[in-house]
């Protein structure tokens, strides 16, 4: 099914002339064919390699631009600016400034994997979305997304204890993103949840928040996982030349 992805010409690029006659033809007003000329000179030739160096982005080079991912996309159905096919195109072209126009929504991928299901080339677009949002954050183009905060809070708890206790994860996430825990809908849900529950279960749930469940003898696994995460982080920072980026920024500040 063909879909309308987006208009190719942006309203702000269209030239309008109050009065213009060309070869005796009156072309005053709004002509979509008259657009601002532009020169693109800020290609990032390393963009595809950098995304491919992050987990999930490995297969981006396989893309054929068929658009099956965008056609299948859950988020695209809600926000048509959310366009995996287009972003993959921009990354492969190295057209960074254009990609950055959408920098604040790429993290919103819900990982439903409909794109991966539809992709005839095993690009794993879901992974590419994750790699791209990591790239944006690592390079400092966007602050950490709420989703990334959640992933970090969650993973930290697993590395530490081996298991998740949900209410603790939720409280830490709200604290880290500076949101109040007692949002009206949350209060309503807790109210409805509690009304049917027997005292015994409530006591156990209360205890679980105090004594978080954990996996026994976890310390060696915990250390091994943390070591691996640190090692991978170092590798990714190197692939994205982050040290040089920081050095350049320092010099800019000094100058």
């Amino acid at each position: 099914m063909p879909i309308h992805e987006k208009s190719l010409i942006r309203p702000e690029d269209i030239k309008t002339h109050d009065e213009l006659v060309l070869d005796g033809v009156d072309v005053s007003g709004h002509w979509s064919t008259f657009i601002e000329s532009r020169v693109v000179d800020d290609y990032n030739e390393n963009l595809q390699d950098e995304i491919a160096a992050l987990p999930g982005g490995e297969n981006i080079h396989r893309c054929w631009q068929c658009g099956s991912c965008t056609n299948a996309c859950t988020v695209n159905a809600i926000n048509e600016d959310f366009n995996p096919r287009y972003w993959i195109y921009l990354i492969r072209m190295g057209y960074q400034s254009e990609l950055l126009r959408d920098k604040d929504i790429i993290w919103q991928c819900v990982s439903c994997n409909k794109c991966t299901y539809a992709c005839p080339r095993d690009v794993f677009p879901e992974g590419v979305m994750k790699a791209t949002s990591h790239w944006l954050e690592k390079k400092g183009h966007t602050p950490k997304s709420p989703s990334m905060h959640f992933d970090e809070v969650f993973t930290e708890q697993i590395v530490k204890t081996g298991k998740i206790e949900e209410s603790r994860t939720i409280r830490r996430f709200f604290a880290r993103t500076g949101q109040g825990l007692m949002q009206p809908w949350m209060v309503e849900m807790v109210k409805r949840m509690l009304k049917g529950l027997p005292v015994g279960l409530l006591t156990r749930m209360g205890l679980a928040t105090l004594i978080a469940p954990k996996t026994n003898d976890w310390s060696k696994a915990s250390a091994a996982i943390q070591e691996y995460i640190d090692e991978q982080n170092e590798k990714h920072d190197k692939a994205l030349s982050l040290a040089e980026l920081v050095e350049t920024a320092k010099q800019d500040v000094a100058a």
Binding site: P55, V110, M148, E166, F173, W185, M189, Y228, Q232
Partner: protein, 300 residues
Amino acid sequence: MSTTKEKYKKVAYYPGCALEGTGHSYNRSTKAVGKALGLDLVEVKNWNCCGAMEVKNIDPKIQTYLSSRVMSTAANEMDMDVVMAPCNGCYHNLKKAEYDLKNDEESVEVVDRLSKKAGHKTYEAGQVETIHALDWIKDSIGEEGLKARVKNSLEGIKVANYYGCMYTRPRHIFPEKDQGPGSESTSKPHFMDDLLAAAGAENVDFPLKTACCGGAHTLSDSDMSTKLVLNILRAAKMSGAEVIATECPTCHSGLEMHQIRAEKNFGEKVDIKILYFTQLLGIALGLKQKKVGVHENVSD
């Protein structure tokens, strides 16, 4: 096709973190149904989190390791050859780890390195078979077996069966699906429909069986999740369903939470009952509502 698998009658049970928290009634009803059907569940010893939907975003191979540790315990310390996970997230991650350990050398190397450092045997692909609670009942008891045990038919109850994302996608980690008659389908899954029909329920024609509930962003992008859940709730209602049957704790709590959030924040009340399929099956098998934890659910 009604060949039952004897080996599914005693399986290693991996409840996962959610079933000890918000999905408690799923845990309870799964165990109660297993008991009523004479199926044996042996909980995986000292299990850990599979990595859920979050750890892969920090590093996918950590998730592979976490899931492999659960399978290693079942295989090497308990001598079990089938692991049953009722949670879609756990089920998905164990399947994904199995696929990666079969096909990706780097994953094998990382899992081996971490397992050695953690001090346990490395899991090797093929040591266990991971199944979902749906496979477990469908393939050990079957529809005929279930029909014979129904004491309290669900006749007259209209159900929309909601399977979510992780049970079917991506296709390549579920090699046993889409294998023709008798096998599960990744585009139109039907195992839950089959079981509930055997219990007497009327399954409505529900188009959003494998739509996404936005579970991954339920708190980090709540408006998006509420919109996606609303689509599912509305479609179920329009299909004539009175109940949405679920088979995943994240989907289930997502549907319950965002049904309330839609009411509070968007002013739209859909008002549909959400039950785990194991709760419905338990009731059909003659168990008391309390026994399968219906009172622990939020929707009513």
